[in-house]
Symmetry: C2
Subunit: 228 residues, 2 copies
DNA sequence: TTAAGTTTGTTGTAAAAACAACATATTTGT
DNA sequence: ACAAATATGTTGTTTTTACAACAAACTTAA
């Protein structure tokens, strides 16, 4: 675990907590580490979870699958992020989603109940951890609300442009690399992959964007009557 | 405010807190009350908020509007629920959504920072309030994830059936009343109202459901090969 | 009670999406 | 370097949606 101390100390959960204290906190929280291969299930829908996951390396997709195997990606979490915390403290009998490694990933599981319960050793960092936890929950909330911004759009084209614009804004650059391949992006935006691919190419042919693999560039609008 | 003590003491925020203490906590949290008429904006997108809202009566819609006035409903909150808490502790410069009263509503605003900061009077209930806040944030998170269940579906018909099935399950009854009118439901499921209305009537004609205004009844499938 | 306003249902049309099937390109493992 | 597997692009067809325009039902306020 010590090899990941750089990830851990940058994590929201350990914000404002000294590096030297993190290891002792982790043992207090029953931290257990496990490695998953690409496409391996970390949690399956219908299971009951009582732990939260912290991504030490790699990334995971929170997904919803139907009977016919159609996959929808609810959210993607990368190194340093926490997932599953909302489920482990809810009264839901079973997990409404699955969590799958989208590439080889090392996950640290911690006992969530222990995070949010006052430490029997009344360790000094505990209230700080709870503060951080409030922030993480709020941020994961906002992540979903911001995703809605793309999903509410009525056409595939608008969804793509909404998503890509946000990525450009995040990167603070018209050129940026996205973390999804085409199938994942389609599953994330809830559209058909081939229709989406077709639309992306149309956007390219119209001079609105260019791309190479997962690197996209958005061009400025030439229309001077732009409303933005 | 005292007239709403029944609402307050049933609220998740005041779970496990004595009725007699709630009033004093509210003054500690700078609680302010305000009444809004139907369709009145409580918060507009692009504003900065530092408070959280508690619904004493009525209900509110968290919405996203585009330049052309198209409205999408992200979530609806009713009496006793809390909204806006995630934004008031985020680093977002501006609110990504608007909050509108969907009927006459009385809202209690509280200083969110004070909820999550240790009380200078170190009042005894404070850690309990923080516990409750963790639960509220997790629940609001799960609410959004559960909504995704409907939204990911590819056809209007499937979205409607997914939504109505959940309502039946929640009501624990095949007959139930929904909190949305037709336009709101369409805005909530991100589909066109007239197309949705048309689809609902087809479902009725096919004997899958019946309805009268906002009261729906789902009929059991007759197909014995049902996969469920 | 009546008129005006609002909500819901209905229909037709044009646009868009899903779907399927396949071609091409890229990646991976040996 | 090669074959196999995977990912992406392309095209045509069918289904579904959005949109518009209007009719009918219902609600509200004078």
């Amino acid at each position: 675990m010590k090899e990941y101390i750089d990830v851990l100390k940058k994590m929201p959960l350990f914000h404002n907590i000294d590096e030297k204290d993190i290891i002792s906190i982790l043992s207090c929280l029953c931290a257990k580490e496990k490695t998953y291969n690409k496409d391996e299930y970390i949690w399956s829908a219908e299971n009951k979870v009582s732990e939260a996951g912290i991504i030490l390396s790699g990334s995971v997709n929170v997904i919803k699958e139907d009977y016919w195997g159609n996959r929808a990606i609810i959210s993607k979490f990368s190194s340093g992020k926490m997932f599953g915390e909302a489920f482990s403290c809810s009264k839901l009998a079973k997990l409404p989603v699955s969590v799958v490694a989208s590439e080889k990933a090392k996950i640290l599981f911690i006992n969530y109940k222990k995070i949010i319960t006052v430490c029997p050793n009344s360790c000094a960092f505990h209230s700080k951890i709870i503060d951080n936890m409030l922030k993480i929950l709020a941020d994961n909330n906002i992540l979903l609300i911001q995703k809605m911004e793309h999903i509410v759009k009525r056409t595939t084209r608008e969804k793509i442009l909404s998503f890509l614009s946000e990525q450009a804004k995040k990167a603070d650059n018209n050129s940026f690399t996205i973390e999804f391949n085409r199938q994942e992006l389609a599953d994330y935006l809830y559209v058909d992959r081939s229709a989406m691919s077709n639309e992306i190419c149309k956007l390219r042919d119209e001079g609105i964007l260019s791309f190479n693999k997962n690197k996209f560039t958005l061009f400025e609008k030439k229309n001077p009557n732009s409303i933005n």
